[in-house]
C-alpha cells in the first residue's frame, strides 16, 4: 500500500487561522506524523500538531553550567596549582577576581549551546528535503501556510488522505514526491 516514491500529502492555506483549524482537525483525525509550515513563528500552530516542549533550554543550561565550571576551574588551577605566585601573602584563590571571566564564559558557552543545540535538534543544516519538491512550497517563506501528512503515518492512504485534506478548505493539495 505504501508507495516509496511518495513522501506525503501537502495542503496549502492562505491565512493563519484556517491553518490552525486544519492542523487541529488533522491531529484529531488521528494523524501523528505531520508537520506545519508558516512564514513566521506561530505558537498555536505548533501546539495544534502536538508539538509542545523542546530541549533547547536544557541544552543551553547544560552548556552554561559547563562553561561556568570550566572557566572557574581553569583560573583556580592556574593560580593555585600550575603557576602560584605569592605576592605579599595575598590569597592564591582570589575568587572575586575570577568572577568576571567565569561570567563571560558562562554566557559564551550557554549562548553557543542554545544556537548549536537549536540547529542540531532541528536537523539543520539539511540542504535537501522532499517538501521542496512541491513548487508552491516556495511560498512558505512568503505568505502561505502548509500542512503535510507524511506517508510514514500509519493512517496514511493516498486517496483518503487527499480527500481528508481537501475537506479542510485549503487553497491547493499536492502530493509530495520523495
Amino acid at each position: 500500500m505504501k508507495d516509496p516514491l511518495i513522501y506525503g500529502m501537502m495542503a496549502e492555506f492562505d491565512n493563519v487561522n484556517d491553518a490552525i483549524i486544519a492542523a487541529r482537525r488533522t491531529y484529531a483525525a488521528g494523524y501523528r506524523k505531520i508537520d506545519a509550515y508558516a512564514p513566521f513563528p506561530v505558537e498555536e500552530l505548533s501546539e495544534a500538531i502536538g508539538f509542545h516542549g523542546n530541549g533547547v533550554a536544557l541544552v543551553c543550561l547544560i552548556g552554561g553550567l559547563l562553561g561556568c565550571t570550566a572557566a572557574f576551574t581553569l583560573q583556580w588551577w592556574i593560580n593555585n596549582v600550575s603557576y602560584p605566585i605569592n605576592i605579599g601573602g595575598r590569597p592564591l584563590n582570589s575568587w572575586p577576581s575570577f568572577i568576571i571571566v567565569t561570567f563571560e564564559m558562562t554566557i559564551l558557552f550557554s549562548g553557543l549551546s542554545a544556537v548549536f543545540g537549536m540547529l542540531t535538534l532541528n536537523g539543520l543544516p539539511m540542504p535537501y528535503h522532499p517538501v521542496f519538491n512541491v513548487p508552491r512550497f516556495e511560498l512558505a517563506s512568503k505568505d502561505r501556510f502548509f500542512i503535510v501528512i507524511f506517508a510514514s503515518d500509519k493512517n496514511y492512504d493516498g486517496i483518503r488522505t487527499r480527500q481528508f485534506l481537501e475537506g479542510l478548505n485549503p487553497i491547493s493539495v499536492a502530493e509530495v514526491p520523495s
Partner: protein
C-alpha cells in the same frame, strides 16, 4: 515573539508599520532591495569613497606595523591615547544594537522588529572596529594569542586578576554572541531570499547560508526558544562588557579613573552614542531605500527619547564625578577637577559639555524629535561628544597625574587620525555591503506586526465540539 502590535497607538504617534501591508508585500519590498534593485550610482559612489578610506587605513596600519607604535602620539605619560579612546567609543556604539535586539525584545517593545537587523549589523561592525585597536596597540600584534590561556612552552598564563584580561574575555564573548544572534536572526530571511530569487547562483548561495531552513513550525518553536534565550543572555552580557571596559580605568588609581560611578555611567554613555549611530544610519537608509513604511517616524522619535534619557544619565555621571572629586577631599582628585575646567584641555572639556549635554536638550522639542534632518545633526553631535568624553577621561587624567615632574602633553599624529578615520571607512564599507547583500529589515519579524498575523481562532475544545 511579542504579540502583534496595534497598528496605531494613540492619535498622536506615528504607526510602527505603515497600514496596508500584507505578508507578501513585506517580503517583496525587503527582498527586492537585495534581489531586484540594480546597483545605483549613489551606492557605488558611497561604497567607493568608503573603500578608498579603507585602503588608506590599510596603508596606515602597514606603516604602523613596519615602524611600531612609535608612529603614534603615545608616549609617557600618555601611554593609551587614541587607541583606547577609539576602542571605548566604538564598543559603546555597538551596545545600542544589542539593546535594541535583546533588551527591547525581552521588554516586548515590538517596534524594535524593524530596526533590530541593521542595528545588530552595526553592533557587529562596531565591535570589529573596536577590537582592532587593542590589537594594533599590542606592539607585536602577531602575538595576540598570548592573551588567551593555552598550554605553552613558556609555562606562563594570563593574569586573571587584571582588567585587561577580563576585557579580552568580555569583548571576544560579546563579538561571538552578537555574531550568532545576528546570524540566527538572518536564517529565516535567507530562506525567504532563496525562495524569492530566480537566479540559480544566487539561490545556491542563500540556500547554503539558510542551511535548508524550511519554515517548519517545529523548527520555529525551537528557534524562538533559542532566540529568547540568546536575548536573555545578551542582556547581562552587554551590561557586563561596558562595565568591564570601565574597570580598565576604575581599577587603576589614576585621578579621574578611580571611581565607582564608572560602570553605570559608561553603560549609559554607550547606549547614548549607540542610539546616535542608529539614527545616523537609519535616517539615510530609510530615505534612500524607500522603507519609511517600516522605519517610521515613530522609530526615530523613540530612539530620540532613549538618547534624551541616557544623555541625562551621562550628565548625572559628570555631576557626580565632579562632586565626589570635591567631596572626597583628595588633593589629586581636586586638582583633576580644576584641571578639566582650567587646564590645557579645558577647551575640549567645555566642548564636551556643549555637545553631550547642552545641544541634545533640543530633543525635548517634539518637532525636532520627528524631524529626520535635525535628528541626524543632533546624533552626529552626540557621536562627537561621546568621543570627546573618552578623550577627556584618557588624556586629561594621564597628562596630569600625581607628580608635576611627570606631567606632559599628548599630540596625536597623522597615523592616529588615519586609523580613526580608517575605521569609520571600514565600518561604512561593511554597512554598504550589508545593505546590498542581506535583508536590512527582518522579514519574518515584521510579519508578526501586521493584523493578518493575529490568531483569532478559539481554543481547541470549541473547535471540536
Amino acid at each position: 515573539m511579542a504579540k502583534p502590535t496595534e497598528v496605531e497607538i494613540g492619535e498622536q504617534k506615528a504607526p510602527v508599520i505603515a497600514p496596508g501591508h500584507t505578508f507578501a508585500s513585506i517580503t517583496d519590498k525587503i527582498a527586492s532591495i537585495v534581489l531586484r534593485r540594480p546597483i545605483t550610482n549613489g551606492w557605488l559612489f558611497g561604497f567607493a569613497i568608503c573603500f578608498l578610506i579603507l585602503q588608506w587605513f590599510l596603508l596606515a596600519v602597514c606603516w604602523l606595523f613596519y615602524k611600531g607604535v612609535g608612529v603614534w602620539g603615545v608616549n609617557i605619560p600618555v601611554g593609551w591615547g587614541f587607541a583606547i579612546v577609539n576602542f571605548v567609543w566604538w564598543i559603546g556604539i555597538g551596545h545600542a544594537g544589542t539593546l535594541i535586539s535583546a533588551i527591547l525584545l525581552l521588554l516586548r517593545q515590538s517596534w524594535r522588529n524593524s530596526i533590530n537587523r541593521f542595528a545588530e549589523a552595526m553592533t557587529l561592525f562596531a565591535v570589529a572596529c573596536a577590537g582592532m585597536f587593542p590589537l594594533l596597540h599590542l606592539g607585536r600584534p602577531w602575538l595576540f594569542y598570548w592573551l588567551f590561556p593555552y598550554p605553552n612552552t613558556m609555562t606562563y598564563w594570563p593574569q586573571f586578576r587584571s582588567p585587561l584580561v577580563w576585557d579580552v574575555f568580555a569583548v571576544s564573548t560579546y563579538l561571538t554572541i552578537s555574531l550568532v544572534f545576528w546570524f540566527i536572526g538572518l536564517i529565516p530571511d535567507l530562506a525567504s531570499l532563496r525562495d524569492q530569487t530566480t537566479n540559480k547562483a544566487i539561490k545556491f548561495v542563500y540556500g547554503l547560508l539558510a542551511m535548508g531552513w524550511r519554515n517548519s513550525v517545529r523548527h520555529w518553536h525551537r528557534y524562538e526558544t533559542a532566540y529568547l534565550l540568546l536575548a536573555g543572555l545578551a542582556t547581562p552580557l552587554v551590561l557586563s562588557v561596558h562595565t568591564v571596559v570601565s574597570f580598565d580605568f576604575s581599577i587603576g588609581i589614576v585621578p579621574g579613573w578611580h571611581t565607582t560611578i564608572f560602570p553605570p555611567y559608561f553603560v549609559a554613555g554607550a547606549i547614548y552614542s549607540g542610539f546616535a549611530m542608529v539614527l545616523v544610519l537609519a535616517i539615510p537608509i530609510r530615505r534612500f531605500y524607500d522603507i519609511k513604511d517600516f522605519i517610521t517616524d515613530r522609530h526615530l522619535e523613540n530612539a530620540a527619547m532613549v538618547m534624551l534619557a541616557t544623555g541625562w544619565i551621562v550628565a548625572y555621571g559628570y555631576a557626580i564625578e565632579a562632586f565626589v572629586n570635591w567631596y572626597g577631599g583628595d588633593p589629586y582628585e581636586n586638582f583633576l577637577r580644576w584641571n578639566r575646567l582650567h587646564g590645557p584641555y579645558a577647551f575640549w572639556y567645555y566642548a564636551l559639555l556643549l555637545t553631550n549635554i547642552v545641544v541634545p536638550q533640543v530633543l525635548w522639542v517634539r518637532r525636532i524629535r520627528t524631524s529626520p534632518l535635525w535628528l541626524f545633526l543632533v546624533s552626529l553631535d552626540v557621536l562627537v561628544g561621546m568621543w570627546l568624553e573618552r578623550f577627556i577621561i584618557v588624556v586629561v587624567s594621564l597628562t596630569r597625574d600625581f607628580v608635576p615632574s611627570s606631567f606632559g602633553q599628548y599630540y596625536p599624529t597623522w597615523n592616529d587620525w588615519s586609523i580613526l578615520v580608517g575605521t569609520l571607512g571600514f565600518f561604512a564599507a561593511c554597512m554598504f555591503l550589508f545593505l546590498r547583500l542581506l535583508p536590512a529589515v527582518s522579514i519574518s519579524e515584521l510579519k508578526t506586526l501586521i493584523p493578518q498575523a493575529e490568531v483569532t481562532v478559539k481554543h481547541e475544545e470549541e473547535v471540536h465540539s
